[in-house]
Point group: C2
């Protein structure tokens, strides 16, 4: 069965259920998971997702070799090495990065009890589909990280693109069906749709249209990120 | 702004926010709100939605003139006068009906603090659109009642059909955009889509395909139901 947690309240509800037989894929397309996939593809050793600024700073103090990255309100917090623009992570090679964002890293942490936790973006849909074809989990949960408390369309577009690659009608929940239907409407016009979402509009207002364009690239990175033992690194399974 | 509460966890979250300047439209297409609209169109005086079987029975004991209707697991509870099939309410004229269902009546109760609470179904989309054109609320909340804890596709189809009639892109939340996109995929094939939803499949399994067909009729009833002072009756505004 493929299910989709459409919004943050739904992630909280599902995170309290038994996920030990579930593979979860977390999407925060604008921008956390797109940044993670970009970084992993470019040579970042690992990402350490944390929920709060305090946790992030504490971890950095303990291990100054780590880079500190993330956002609050779309911008890098004071004293951080990096923000949350995917292109910033292209230049980071062989380092590990502490990452804290409003929704993406929270969503990853919420489903950490799942058997496998994968990182999803439009950038790596085909890589995810290949991974899932090989591992064929019985229960697949696609997690749309959202924005604050709200549902985010771009996460559902990515989730739906993955659903469309995986299956026929068998084993699709209603939530999977609405995202697949959305991805059929979107077709190849990812950028046009992303720029009109609430996140896309907000990012363009703070001068980050380049980020929206970057995150709208489809299946250009052959990388699956996996969260395990507190760290996200490339899955070699 | 048009927003959509896509699933039960989201209804609970939103019900705790300030709704005093919001008009809410509650959709439980299979079948509670379709039964209510059918009943009101046929001459039911009012529906009294209650959350629990106990409340329903207590109310009936106090006023034996009321009819007792509803479902648990799709079937009428023991001792009830009526179930939750829309066609059952076609024969009821001039009576008031206590109604308790798993999700629909709970969703209605959840948003009772809204300025206006309207009852929505595929059956009365054009009537709702006309009402909203006349009253043009600043904040419109479309509530998808769902099934148990799950998102239900048929409620999102109805919500999206209403969004499509109301507006251009201005003032559409991401949640409104996904439902509108869904309704564009559905086109006029309401029955085909409804029968493949999880609820549609369950209802067909218990021999209630006729209910699914009934609820898939589009804009055939020129009735707006309004919940006020604990009762749903036809809005004459």
């Amino acid at each position: 069965m493929i299910q989709v947690a459409l919004c943050p309240s739904e992630i909280r509800r599902i995170s309290a259920t038994d996920l030990t037989e579930t593979t979860a894929v977390v999407f925060d397309v604008l921008r956390a998971t797109s940044s993670i996939i970009t970084g992993l593809a470019a040579g970042v050793e690992s990402f350490i997702p944390v929920r709060t600024l305090e946790e992030a700073q504490k971890l950095k103090a303990k291990d100054p070799g780590l880079l500190l990255a993330g956002e609050r309100g779309g911008l890098p917090p004071k004293g951080f090495d990096l923000g949350n623009s995917p292109e910033e992570f292209e230049k980071v090679k062989g380092r590990s990065v502490i990452l804290t964002t409003t929704n993406g890293t929270v969503a990853i942490d919420s489903v950490k009890s799942a058997r496998h936790v994968l990182i999803g973006a439009l950038l790596n849909i085909d890589a995810l589909a290949n991974y899932l074809f090989t591992h064929h989990p019985n229960n697949l949960l696609l997690v749309c990280a959202g924005t604050g408390e709200e549902f985010s369309l771009e996460d559902a577009i990515a989730a739906g693109s993955l659903v469309a690659r995986l299956s026929g009608d068998e084993g699709l929940s209603d939530s999977a069906m609405i995202t697949r239907s959305l991805s059929e409407q979107v077709g190849d016009d990812f950028y046009e749709w992303l720029r009109h979402t609430q996140n896309g509009t907000s990012l363009r207002k703070i001068g980050k249209d380049a980020d929206v364009r970057w995150c709208a690239q489809f299946s250009v990175m052959d990388v699956v990120g996996r969260f395990k033992d507190g760290k996200i690194s490339i899955s070699t399974d």
